[in-house]
C-alpha cells in the first residue's frame, strides 16, 4: 500500500500505514527524495503511529533516507513510534542514530518550529 505524502507549508508529512512492505518503504524513500527537491521542502516528518513492527530493514532504510534528505537540505523527524515498538527495537539492537524523533505529529511540528526559530535549518 502506497504511503500517502502530504505537503504542509515547507514540510512534507508521510503517514506510514500498518502494512508496510519493504517495497512500500523503498518506494516511499524514492518519492520523498524526489518531492523534497520538487517542493523545496525544508523538513520531512515520517509518522509511524500505526506501524506495528520496526525491523532492521525498516530502520536501516529510514536512517539512510534521513541521511540522503539531509544532503538535499531537508531535516527528517520520525514521529509516533509506539512504546512497544521502541522497546522491541532496542532489544533487537536497532537505533535511529542522529535522526530526530518526537512523540507524535504535533510534537514533531513543534520541534521543527522551534528549530526554525533558533535559526538553524537542521534538527539537532
Amino acid at each position: 500500500m502506497q504511503v500517502p505524502i502530504l505537503k504542509q507549508g515547507d514540510y512534507l508529512i508521510a503517514s506510514v500505514q500498518a502494512v508496510l512492505t519493504d517495497t512500500d518503504l523503498l518506494e516511499l524513500r524514492d518519492r520523498l527524495t524526489e518531492q523534497v527537491g520538487t517542493y523545496r521542502a525544508r523538513a520531512v516528518i515520517i509518522d509511524l503511529t500505526v506501524l506495528d513492527v520496526m525491523d532492521s530493514f525498516a530502520t536501516r532504510t529510514l536512517r539512510a533516507l534521513a541521511q540522503s534528505l539531509r544532503l538535499r537540505g531537508a531535516a527528517t523527524v520520525i514521529v509516533g513510534i509506539q512504546p512497544d515498538v521502541a522497546f522491541a527495537m532496542t532489544q533487537l539492537g536497532l537505533q535511529l542514530g542522529s535522526v530526530a524523533t518526537a512523540l507524535d505529529l504535533e510534537e514533531g511540528l513543534e520541534l521543527l518550529r522551534r528549530q526554525e526559530r533558533r535559526g538553524g535549518s537542521h534538527v539537532r
Binding site: 502494512v19 508496510l20 512492505t21 519493504d22 517495497t23 506495528d52 513492527v53 520496526m54 525491523d55 532492521s56 530493514f57 530502520t59 536501516r60 509506539q82 512504546p83 512497544d84 515498538v85 522497546f87 522491541a88 527495537m89 532489544q91 533487537l92 539492537g93 536497532l94
Partner: protein
C-alpha cells in the same frame, strides 16, 4: 499439534503476512502487546532473511504446551545457500550484504529460545520459541489511577 500454520515465503509481502499471522496466533494464546511486538519483529527478521538470501522458503507457526507451559513456536525454513559460519552470522553487526547484521542476533534476543541449523548448499532452519510468561503481569498502557 495439528493446527500448524504454514506460510510460504517468497516476497516481501509474505514477510508482512508472516509477522501478522504470528502476532495473531500469539495473541490468541494470551501474550501481551509488548511480547506480541517482540514476536512479530523476530518473525520479520527471519522471514526477511529467507527472501533475501534463499529467495524462497516457509515460516511455520504453531502453538505448544510442553509441561503445561504454553508458548509459540516459529520455524523459518529454506533450501537456500546455507550459512557457512553460524557463529559469525549470530554476531551483532555481521552481515555479508552490508546490512546492519542484527537480524539473527536480534531475533535471538527477542525470543526465549533460538536454534539455527544450516548446511551450505542445503539450506537453513531457524526455530524460535517464546513462552507465555507465568505470572502474566500486565501494566496498563496508561499509568495507574
Amino acid at each position: 499439534m495439528s493446527d500448524d500454520l504454514r506460510l510460504p515465503i517468497k516476497s516481501d509481502a509474505d514477510v508482512v503476512t508472516a509477522r501478522q499471522q504470528g502476532r495473531e496466533l500469539a495473541a490468541r494464546l494470551g501474550f501481551g502487546e509488548c511480547e506480541l511486538t517482540l514476536i512479530a519483529t523476530a518473525i520479520s527478521e527471519v522471514a526477511r532473511n529467507i527472501v533475501e538470501y534463499a529467495g524462497r522458503g516457509e515460516v511455520v507457526l504453531s502453538l505448544t504446551d510442553v509441561n503445561n507451559s504454553p508458548g509459540i513456536i516459529v520455524v523459518a525454513r529454506d533450501e537456500g545457500p546455507g550459512i557457512p559460519n553460524l557463529e559469525l552470522a549470530l554476531r551483532d553487526g555481521y552481515s555479508t550484504h552490508g546490512s546492519l547484521g542484527l537480524g539473527l542476533p536480534g531475533a535471538r534476543r527477542l525470543m526465549d529460545e533460538f536454534e539455527i541449523v544450516s548446511e551450505v548448499g542445503k539450506g537453513t532452519t531457524v526455530t524460535m520459541k517464546k513462552w507465555l510468561p507465568r505470572h502474566t503481569m500486565r501494566f496498563p498502557l496508561s499509568p495507574r489511577r
